[in-house]
Amino acid sequence: MSKKASLAVGAPIEGRSPARMAWERIKKDRTAKISAFTIGIFALLALTAPIFTWILHTSPDQFHPETLDPSFGTNPIGKLGGISAQHWFGVEPRTGRDVFLRFAYGARTSLSIALSATALATIIGVLVGLTSGFYGKKIDLVLSRTMEIVLAFPSILFALAVTPVFENLLESWGVPTGNATRIPVMIIVLSMFGWPYIARIVRGQVISIREKEFVEAARSIGASRVHLVFREILPNLWAPILVTVALNIPTMITSEAALTFLGAGVIDPTSDWGAMLLASVPFYSVDPTYTFIPGFGLFLLVLAFNLLGDSVRDALDPRSSR
């Protein structure tokens, strides 16, 4: 909710090879290393999910009614949500689907949607920010107002509301229903509310860099605008962009899960952490394991991204608080 507060990104980095310096600092930062490692594990899990399907001889969608107790609220047989050698994280109540596989495939869905949305938001944000900051005047006024208006939207609410609208639209273009429309819609909706944060920061940076000597110099020798923007200004923005992106990813992950949890996201049987949490609602009191696993996974991944984001920010701008 208050992401805006933590997005305070430092001044432009100056000096000799700031990238090297930042890299040195990150390499010394234990928190950063542990976070990166954690993220790596999740990424690996997501990438190798099909291997586990092969190891466990089942698929994330396969029902296992034999693992459930039909009388006791369809709870998994055995302790801790039916954790066993066959089902490492237990099974899902009602269906007996393997929770570990759903978790692994869920990491796939969550990460791919969050990363795509972040990428899209970054591209839009950077382009708008550059244009707005570089050209100024009327273009800036229009774009800044647009950002203001987007930020005035109650984002979750609006995202929920426009999902069926966009879905309908895609369907009317012949895209099949289900996740084939849901996932692109989610990426669009998430990036729709993500780009202004990036654009705002880029714009501010561009305005401060625009008048610097090296830009003036390039301008004076008659460099084209495109050259100025992409060759002279953009390379000097990578630090604040990187920090914003790093801190944007966890927001995207949680927003994706929230949208799905609220029913506007990924649809069963596709695995997704938000969907798992939603499905666990009727069972949280009798099978808390099933609630805990996706919830804790989400927590770990978001925490790792947040910590890494903080580290990246500190490394790029040591003056920022620590």
Binding site: P65, L68, D69, T74, P282, S285
Partner: protein
Amino acid sequence: MSLKKKALAVVGAAALASTALLSVNAASAATTFTTPVAPIKGAVKGGTVTILAQGDFEHLDPARNYVGGTLDFYRLFTRTLTQYRTVNGKTDLVPDVAADLGTTKDGGKTWTFKLRTNLKYEDGNTITCADMKYGVMRSYNDDILDGGPTYAKDFIANPTNYKGAYTEPGKDLPSVICSPKGDAITFKLAIPVPYFPYVTTFGAFSPIPKAKDTKQNYELRPLSSGPYKIESYSRGKELVLVRNDKWDAKTDPVRWNYPDEYHVIMGADQNVIEQSLISDSGNAKTSVSFDTNIITNLSKVLNVAKYKDRLFNFDSAYNRYYAINVDTVKDINVRKAIQCAVDFKSILLAAGGTSAGSYANSTIPKSIKAAYRNFNVCGRDVSKKPEAQLDQAKAFLAKATNPKTTLRLAYRDRGVEPLRAAALEQSLKAAGFTVIMDKYPSSDFYAPAAKRGGANEPDIIQTSWAFDWAAASGIVYALFDARTMTPEDAKSNQSRGDFADLQKLFAKADTSATAAQEKILGDIEQSLIVDKAAHVSVYFETSHYMAGSKVGGLQVDGGYSTLSVLGAYVKK
């Protein structure tokens, strides 16, 4: 889940019900229950009982009311000719406005009911036989008074082709006759209806003074003849009932009047009402809901003692089944393979396990003894061996001369229905079928599922049926009689069955007496499931209703298969 669907399902049945026979508690018709109902043990007067409802009543006009919970509730201010009385877990048919349960001398073609003469409306006027007749006459205008059952119009003889009190205000309905003294009412029927006293429990048989009738707006302020009257009614928000001091307990064999007021608060959603009732906080202590079955929190409430005490579990009329389309799945062996591939266990698990329902081999419930058959499906007792019989399924599929291995499964996107469909999909796949999952939006399912012909016609339809009253006639005619179908529309005969041998049996049943008819209908269902393999009943749903800790006197009403608030009281 709202009981509204029950009513919707029933509309189809009502049209065919002309030859149906009511079998529940038919014996009690012989006895009369004219004395006031016995007090509920421990009940005290005073307080307010709150009813939490997800939405507004469909209709409060007696002639338009056809929804389980509302049928129970509207009795608080509407008396009908006859009515159900539930006390100590036993439901009987009793005379209400009538003074007896009716008499017939011609085997059910003419029915005469004596009337109580000392009954009053809330405005102090006396209830007359003419008002009872007017109630029936206005119900003929079902174009304006839509939504209700059409029994009166269907059963009562109509030689003059009467069109209703609004369409033909000056005309009379000669088949309904009031005695000169006004102490008896006679109905001449088009056909013999031996169970007519059950039909007269419906709202068309309630007194409405012509002067007070406001047509379609009558439901906003129906005139009370019961122990309570409407104090205020804000559609979609709140209905307040207060005592009607003109009502005399001594004349009423059905109703109690313990609370000072009933408040119906509308507009909260399923989960909000569930949680409110479970929390037992604030006015939820004195609350109950008749349109909110506990679903989301079922596992929790079933497993915690303090919730269990406030939970009412009873079999609903809902049967969940699969219709196998015989038009598209022509080979009997393929249909048998499908039948064997149905995994009862994983389907019921997906629906919530044995606390959410009980396995059923047949859509006729065991409680309808005259028609129920304890046959095996795919050669096994499904309640003992609910798992899919994959080997048999594969064997049948191998035997098929006209094999069809790609099946379209039509289901509705609502609640656990997609999960149940997924459970079936998996066992069908395991048996060697390829399944195309056709998910329909909740609001637009029955019509496309029943559409005959076209490339997208489903092979298997995941659907359900709720009987209006506990008789095979309320089930078999609607689901399996080919005469209901048109070439384009299978209506409620989703399996599209049109078998010569069975249609012969239907013809025989049409003219048979009660017990024989029920037996024939039972045979038809058994044949359709076992021989024709066109239908797979999976389970009957269990209802779970919850009440606040301070509400007493709630009972499961046998008449409407719902939790009745008639005897509710606020515990001191």
